[in-house]
Amino acid sequence: MKKIFFIVEKSLLQHKLSTVITILSVALATALVMSVFSIRDQAETAFTGGPAGFDAVLGARGSQLQLVLNTVFHLETSPGNIPWSEYTAIKNNENVELAIPYAVGDNYKGYRLVGTTPELFDKFEYTKGKTFEFQKSGKVFNPYLREAVVGSYVAQKTGLKKGSTFNAYHGLYFNKNDRHRKKYEVTGVLKPTNSPSDRVIWVPINQFYMTEGHVLRGGGKEYEAYVHHDPRDIPDVHKEVSAVMLKLKNPASGFKLASSINREGKASTLAWPIGAVLAGLFEKIGWVTKILTLVAYIVIAVAAGSILASIYNTMNERRREFAILRVLGAKRGTVFSSVVIEAVTISFIGTIIGFVFYFILISLASFIIRKQTGVVLDILSIHPVLIITPFVMILLGAVAGIIPAYKAYKTEVASSLSPNN
C-alpha cells in the first residue's frame, strides 16, 4: 500500500491545479448538501418545537399561521384585534392555565413593542422550567407607569439599558415621522433567551392604550384612551388585544377549545397546537426545500463528474507514466488501485474541507435566521446527513475513479513506451 500512496501523492502534487479545483468542488458540494438538509431540519425543529413556550394563541378570525408568526415570532402583521372580553373569558376558561394578552402596533427603530401584563415575567416559562430573567438589577415594569422591559438583542443593537428613555414609533416598521410623543423608561434588560423574545420591547398593555394616536374599538366604536391620566380609568369595554397567549391545562383542553372557538365560534381564531400550525408553514414552502435538495443532488453529481473529468483528462499524458510503472514492476492492479485511491483521496480531502465550509454556511444561516427571527439554530448538533454525506462523497469518488482506473489498467506497456508516443 505504501507504494500506492506514494504514487497517489506524487500524482496529486504533479497536477496541483486540477487537484485543488476538484477538491474545492467536492468541498462545496459536500458543504451545500449538508447545509441544505441540516438547516432545513434544524430550522423546522427550532420553529415548530422550540421558541413558543405557549400551547395556543387566541386572536382575530383569520389565518392561524399569521397569528402565530405575529405573536410568537413577532413577524408579519397582526390579523386584527379582539375585544378585552374575549381575553377575560378565555382567562377564566376551565381549560386554560395561563392567559396573557398581547397588543402590538408600535416599534422602536424597527423592534416591536408588545403591550402585555407583568404575568409574562412572573408565570410564563419561555422554555420548560425557565422564566425570563433580568440582567443586573432590572425589574418588571409597573403596569400603570410608562415603563418598558427590553429584550437582550434589542438592548445590544439599540444601546437601551436600565434608566434609558425612548420614544416609540407608530406601526410595525420604523418611520422617523411616526414618533409618539410620550417616552418610556427602561426598568430592565432581559437575559438572552435565544428566542424571538430577545428582539422585543415589552411595555404595559395599559400604556399601549394610552399612547396618543391609538384608538380602541373594543366596544364597537372608537375610543381615545390617551386622554386618561391613569390607565385604571379606561373602561374594559373599550379595550382590545391583538392576541391572547395561552398555556393550556392538558392536550384535551386544546381539542375542546379549538372545537368551540374555531368550529362553533365566528369572532376569533385559536391557533393550536402551535407546532402543527408552523409545520403547515414548512409544508407550504416544501417545494423550496425540494428544489434546494434537487440542486444539492445535482451539485453532488457535478462534483463526482469533476473528479472523473479531472483524472480522466490526465490519462493520455499519464499513459507513458503508467507504462513506466509497469516496466518497473507495478502490477495492473497496483496501477488500477492508485487511480481509484487518487479519486478517493480527492473526495476525502474535499469532504474534510467541506466540513469547514459547512460550519461557515450554517453559522451564516444561523446568524441570519437569528437576526431576522430571533430563533437560534444549534449549529453543533449532529445531523445524520453529516455522517451520510462524507460516505456518499467518498463512495462516489471511488466510482468516478473506476473509469480512468480501468483505462490505466488497460495501458499497453510496449506501445506506450515507444519513442514515437
Partner: protein
C-alpha cells in the same frame, strides 16, 4: 567474471504483429540466443529491425507467439503476467533510449520507487547508486531540471536499483553525442560489473559497442529480418 551457466536462453522465439490492414507480419524470429551470468553482450541493428521488441519479450512486457525464454531457470513464457511483473521488478533492469523517467518524481524518488516494486526500498543504497553515477548533488532534482546525460545516469541508477541479474539497455546512448555515448557505455558496463549484472546493450551505432567483447549483428540474429 562471467560463468558458463546461461542466465538467459532463448530458443525459437517468434513474434508477429498485425498491421493496420489486418495482415500478420512476422517481425521477430530468433532461433537461439543466450547470455551467461555476468556476461555483457552488445547487439547492433538498424532501426526497425525488431531490437526493442526482442528486449520487450525478454523483459516479459510482450508475450511471444511461440518459443522459449528461460531466465534464471524459469520459463518466462509460462509465467502469468503478474509473475512476470514481480520477476521484472526484482531481476531485470531496463534502460530506454528516451530514459522514461517519471517526470513528477525527483532523481532519488525515481530510484526508490523502483525499489518499492521489488519490496525492498533502501534509501541508503539509492543514495549510493546516484553518487556512483555522479549525481550525489542532484538527488532532489526532477528530470526536467537535469541535462540529457544526467537523466540517462538516473535511468541507469534506477535500472540497477534492485540489484538485477540482467540489465537490458535499449539504445540508451541514442540521444547523446559520440563522446558522451562512449562515457555512458563505460559507466553502464562498470556498474553492471560492480553489481554482477549481465548486460544486453542494443545500439544502431557499431562504434558505441567498441568496448564489448561480444557484439552480435541483430540482422543476422533475427531471421525474420533477413528473410
Amino acid at each position: 567474471m562471467a560463468n558458463n551457466l546461461p542466465l538467459l536462453k532463448v530458443e525459437k522465439l517468434k513474434r508477429t504483429f498485425i498491421s493496420p490492414d489486418g495482415e500478420s507480419n512476422l517481425i521477430l524470429d530468433i532461433p537461439t540466443f543466450k547470455i551467461r551470468a555476468g556476461e555483457h553482450i552488445g547487439i547492433q541493428g538498424n532501426s526497425g529491425s525488431g531490437k526493442t521488441t526482442f528486449l520487450n519479450l525478454l523483459a516479459g512486457i510482450l508475450n511471444a507467439d511461440s518459443g522459449s525464454i528461460a531466465f534464471d531457470s524459469r520459463e518466462l513464457t509460462l509465467l502469468s503476467e503478474s509473475e512476470r511483473d514481480v520477476l521484472r521488478a526484482k531481476s531485470i533492469g531496463y534502460i530506454f533510449q528516451t530514459f522514461n523517467l517519471l517526470q513528477g518524481y525527483t532523481a532519488l524518488e525515481n530510484v526508490t520507487l523502483a525499489m518499492m516494486f521489488a519490496g525492498k526500498p533502501d534509501k541508503k543504497y539509492a543514495f549510493k547508486l546516484l553518487e556512483n553515477v555522479g549525481l550525489g548533488n542532484r538527488m532532489d532534482y526532477k528530470p526536467a531540471q537535469l541535462s540529457v546525460d544526467q537523466q540517462q545516469r538516473v535511468a541507469l541508477a534506477r535500472a540497477l536499483a534492485n540489484r538485477p541479474k540482467i540489465v537490458l539497455a535499449d539504445e540508451p546512448t541514442g540521444n547523446l553525442d559520440y563522446r558522451r555515448a562512449r562515457q555512458a557505455v563505460k559507466l553502464i558496463k562498470e556498474l553492471c560489473i560492480v553489481n554482477g549484472a549481465s548486460l544486453i546493450f542494443v545500439s544502431h551505432d557499431l562504434d558505441v559497442l567498441d568496448d564489448f567483447d561480444t557484439v552480435l549483428d541483430f540482422t543476422i540474429l533475427n531471421r525474420a529480418f533477413t528473410s
